[in-house]
Each structure stands twice: as structure tokens, then as C-alpha cells.
């Protein structure tokens, strides 16, 4: 296995880009990353995208993006794993380079969500659930997470307001991220008063769907050359799956795919959970953030929320999460999220995080699909 370095990153702001399509967003993030890496082509492009067909009627997205970015003819393929699409694309890019098949690849995450609204978007998001046994019952993705949250509250004697700290932390961090969608802090009171989406999950507990694209350039040590010394390295990469439907899992409150992928990544990177300095986790909903911390071995079962309540997830805490706003405040272009996480982690590990800078050597990014049926974990090391 060869070593894999991140030699370039690029991202668009996350928002409703009424005037830009997916190909525009993807191409602009690619051009940024290419420029930063000092290259003008790559061996392959892996496009992470979840809902292009559902939301915009466009499939075969990778070929389209390669062409539009001026890289016509390049090997390119789209990777889909619902909310984990971005992370899964990073995984494939990593495998391509680490295995020796390719020297330089691009990984682009892109999602264009604002062309549809309301129930149509809910229907699209529900494609990440079990169509025959969950979606058919009108269970939105939020409703499934709400079922988890309600049970968790019951088992661990918590109230809805206890979960506010995840959203508050993400919003606080997004204030200093110029690419973030929501850059204002929120209060516990606002969290409690927010409109319910699926009881007990409210609007302020749900990551906002939006448009955006992010790209990273992955190079082998050979291709990176001297740049390798100043580049962030991917030292752990693992993807695992679980039963798709919540009710098919022996314990729905334990994310087995998260545990499996995290532990494989720790083992490969040769680090223990407590050595992780930053965790860019998949905070589509606060309950998912909680369960991610627990299944990743960073909090005991039932204690994830308490960790947040004690301030340990803040920039100055023991395990900072969502340091640039996470899915909740930076925004959640579904299939692109996993690549945004790598971009943000790279910024941190390079020392480019500005006011949000954490003193970090080792960071972890984790991308989740649906209610946890796919989980991808990457561990990154500072130069």
C-alpha cells in the first residue's frame, strides 16, 4: 500500500445557488483544487453524489463533470451511498492511489438540492431508507432519526433541550467559516421553540439541505514529490455497512457500521480513539452526532449527549467536532458532505482554520448514509 496525500482542496460556499447547476458547482471546486495542487489533470475522478437523478433528472454525472471541468476523457465515476456518498468517493479515491493503480486522483462531492422543495425533497431524502419497509409508511429520514432520539431520551433520561448543544456548537463554529450557510449563533431557547419536523426533532436540530461542491486532490508519495512533506496524509480509511432498515438492526441505538469503520481506521492509522484531536462527524441530526461519538469509542453508550452538555465538543474541549460548522451550520449538500469534511479537516491540520484553529495532529472524518447503513471513516495526519 502506498501513502496517500492531500495536495489540493477546493470548495464552493454552501447555500441555495439558484443561479448555478451541479456541473457549475463541481467544476469550480475542481478548478480550485487543481490550481492549489499545481496540476492540470488527474488519472481519475470520483464523484460523490446522492440524489442527482431524483432531484435534477441527471445521471451519468461523473462523465458530465469531467467534461465540464475541462478534463474530458478522464476516467470518472459517480459513487452513491446516500449521505455517505462523499466519504465513499474519498474511500475509492484513496483505494485507487494506495493500491498503486493511480498516482493522482480527484475526489469531488457535489449536490444540487434547491431545484425542488418541500415534500418532493423529503421524498428524495427518503430514498436512503428502506423503500419497501420504511419509506412506504411515510417515514421521512427525520422521522426515523426521531424514533432513535425518542428511544434514546427514554433509555438515558434526557430531554429534548439537552440535545441543543450540538446545534449550538456547530452554529458557533460556522460564524468564522466564510463558506458556511448559517453564520449566526443560536440559543437553547431558540432550539426549544423551533418548529417540529418529526417529533422530537425540530428545524434547528436538522441539517439544512443546500447546494455545494468540494474537491480534494489525492496523490501518491511518488506523485506528490516534495509536496508530500507539507501535505496532510490519509492514514486510515475504512467503510462498513449495516442493515438498511432501523428495525433490522439488533440494537438500533448502536451504529455498528460506524464502529466497524472507525475501528478499522484506527487500526490502520495506528492510533487510539483518545488520540483523535478533531472529529468531523456526520451531524445530520443531533442524535446521529451522539450515536457517532459513542460507536466511534469517543463516549460511552448513553453519554454522547452529556459530552456535549459538558462542553467537550467545543473547539476548546476534549474532542472538538464540526469545527467549521458541520452539516448543521456549514450546511448539508448531501452527497458532498463527506468531501467538505475532508476539506475542513485538511484546513485544520494545515493550520489554515483561522479563528477556529484547533491545535491538532490527528483528525477523523466520518460520513454516514441514511440512519447508519453506510459509514466511512478517514483518519488524517498533519504534515
Amino acid at each position: 500500500m502506498r501513502r496517500v496525500y492531500i495536495t489540493g482542496i477546493g470548495q464552493t460556499p454552501v447555500r441555495e445557488h439558484w443561479d448555478r447547476s451541479a456541473r457549475d458547482l463541481a467544476a469550480s471546486s475542481i478548478l480550485q483544487a487543481l490550481e492549489q495542487a499545481g496540476i492540470d489533470k488527474a488519472d481519475a475522478i470520483y464523484v460523490g453524489n446522492a440524489l442527482s437523478g431524483e432531484l435534477t433528472g441527471q445521471e451519468q454525472l461523473a462523465a458530465l463533470i469531467a467534461d465540464f471541468a475541462g478534463l474530458t476523457g478522464t476516467e470518472a465515476i459517480r459513487v452513491e451511498a446516500a449521505g455517505a456518498s462523499g466519504g465513499a468517493a474519498v474511500r475509492l479515491g484513496y483505494l485507487a492511489v494506495a493500491s498503486g493503480v493511480h498516482d493522482t486522483v480527484l475526489v469531488t462531492g457535489v449536490e444540487k438540492m434547491s431545484d425542488l422543495a418541500g415534500p418532493a425533497v423529503e421524498e428524495a431524502l427518503a430514498t436512503s431508507t428502506d423503500e419497501e419497509y420504511e419509506a412506504i409508511h411515510g417515514l421521512s429520514i427525520a422521522a426515523l432519526h426521531a424514533l432513535l432520539m425518542r428511544r434514546y431520551m427514554h433509555d438515558y433520561d434526557l430531554e429534548r433541550r439537552d440535545f441543543a448543544h450540538f446545534s449550538m456548537n456547530s452554529h458557533r463554529n460556522a460564524v468564522n467559516n466564510e463558506y458556511a450557510m448559517f453564520r449566526r449563533p443560536i440559543t437553547v431557547e431558540a432550539f426549544e421553540k423551533a418548529r417540529l419536523v418529526a417529533d422530537p426533532i425540530s428545524l434547528l436540530d436538522s441539517a439544512p439541505v443546500a447546494d455545494g461542491a468540494a474537491t480534494i486532490v489525492l496523490c501518491s508519495d511518488k506523485a506528490a514529490g516534495e509536496r508530500a512533506n507539507s501535505s496532510v496524509e490519509i492514514t486510515g480509511s475504512a467503510l462498513a455497512t449495516d442493515a438498511l432498515a432501523l428495525h433490522d438492526r439488533p440494537n438500533p441505538l448502536f451504529l455498528r457500521a460506524v464502529q466497524e469503520s472507525a475501528h478499522k481506521a484506527y487500526a490502520q492509522a495506528g492510533v487510539a480513539p483518545k488520540q483523535i484531536d478533531i472529529f468531523e462527524l456526520h451531524d445530520a441530526f443531533a442524535i446521529l452526532a451522539t450515536l457517532s461519538l459513542e460507536a466511534s469509542g469517543l463516549a460511552p453508550e448513553g453519554q454522547g449527549v452529556r459530552l456535549a452538555m459538558e462542553g467537550e465538543i467545543a473547539l476548546e474541549g476534549r474532542i472538538p467536532i464540526c469545527t467549521m460548522g458541520g452539516q448543521k451550520a456549514r450546511g448539508y449538500p448531501v452527497g458532498a458532505a463527506g468531501v467538505y469534511q475532508i476539506v475542513e479537516l485538511a484546513q485544520q491540520l494545515r493550520g489554515d482554520a483561522g479563528a477556529n484553529q484547533v491545535d491538532a495532529r490527528v483528525g477523523m472524518a466520518q460520513s454516514i448514509g441514511g440512519t447508519g447503513a453506510t459509514a466511512v471513516t478517514h483518519i488524517l495526519r498533519s504534515p
Binding site: P119, Y133, A135, H137, S140, R151, A198, I201, L246
Partner: protein
């Protein structure tokens, strides 16, 4: 609107049928080819009695297309007496009446229609138990 997609799920949805593992006795919902407990392929159809209790519940306000006419509606994970969990809507219950542990029973109701002219999809939901099952 797919006719075949719903048609082939009908029996399962109308009667709450799953599988029973002939080797380890596990009752499985939904239908599977391989027993998740003992990995056996010896699975036979099994009709669940439809009795259970609420394991967790929610109320949906922002619904996907086709369900937005029904909001707000309650939904749950139900623990069936035979063991499996099943996801379904609750019905015949006020949105603030559900609780973890509530005894429920299966009924067949409309899941959705495909607009004014399309197929009506019927399937299982759960309501508070009407009578104690002796």
C-alpha cells in the same frame, strides 16, 4: 406510480407476513433469504399475530410527497410479540397519546394514494389494543 411494485408486496403488507427460520426458530420481519441469526437458508413464510408494543414513536410534520395530506401523523417502531421490530404508522390515536410500551395491534389501512386517479396502497399500521387478548 408502479403497479407491480406494490402488488408483489401485497400479501406481506395486508397480512404482516415474514419468515420463520426452520433451524433456529427465529421469526423474521421483513422477509429474508438468509437467517440473520444462524445463517440458515431454511426459511418458511410466517404470519405474525399483529400484537406488540411501541418501542419508540414520533409524529411526522414534514412529510414526503404522497403523505403530506395526512400530516401530522404518528409513526413508531413496534416490538412484535414474536420478537422482531417493525416500522409503521400508528393510527386511531391522538398525536400526544402514544408512549413507549403502549400495547398495539395491527390493522390494515390506507398507506397512500397515488393522487386522485392512481392506485390506492393498503398496508399495516398499528393502533392501541382494543381489548386484552386472552
Amino acid at each position: 406510480m408502479s403497479l407491480a411494485k406494490h402488488w408483489r408486496m401485497q400479501q406481506q403488507r395486508y397480512r404482516l407476513t415474514g419468515m420463520e427460520c426452520e433451524d433456529c426458530g427465529a421469526k423474521l420481519l421483513p422477509r429474508r433469504l438468509v437467517c440473520p441469526r444462524c445463517k440458515s437458508h431454511n426459511l418458511q413464510p410466517y404470519s405474525f399475530k399483529g400484537q406488540g408494543m411501541v418501542h419508540s414513536y414520533t409524529v411526522v410534520y414534514d412529510a414526503p410527497s404522497g403523505y403530506d395530506g395526512y400530516v401530522p401523523y404518528p409513526a413508531a417502531l413496534v416490538r412484535l410479540d414474536e420478537g422482531p421490530l417493525v416500522a409503521a404508522q400508528l393510527t386511531d390515536v391522538d398525536i400526544d397519546e402514544a408512549y413507549i410500551g403502549m400495547p398495539v395491534e395491527m390493522v390494515t389501512r390506507r398507506l397512500r394514494e397515488h393522487g386522485e386517479s392512481g392506485l390506492i396502497v393498503y398496508g399495516y399500521k398499528f393502533r392501541p389494543k382494543l381489548k386484552d387478548q386472552a
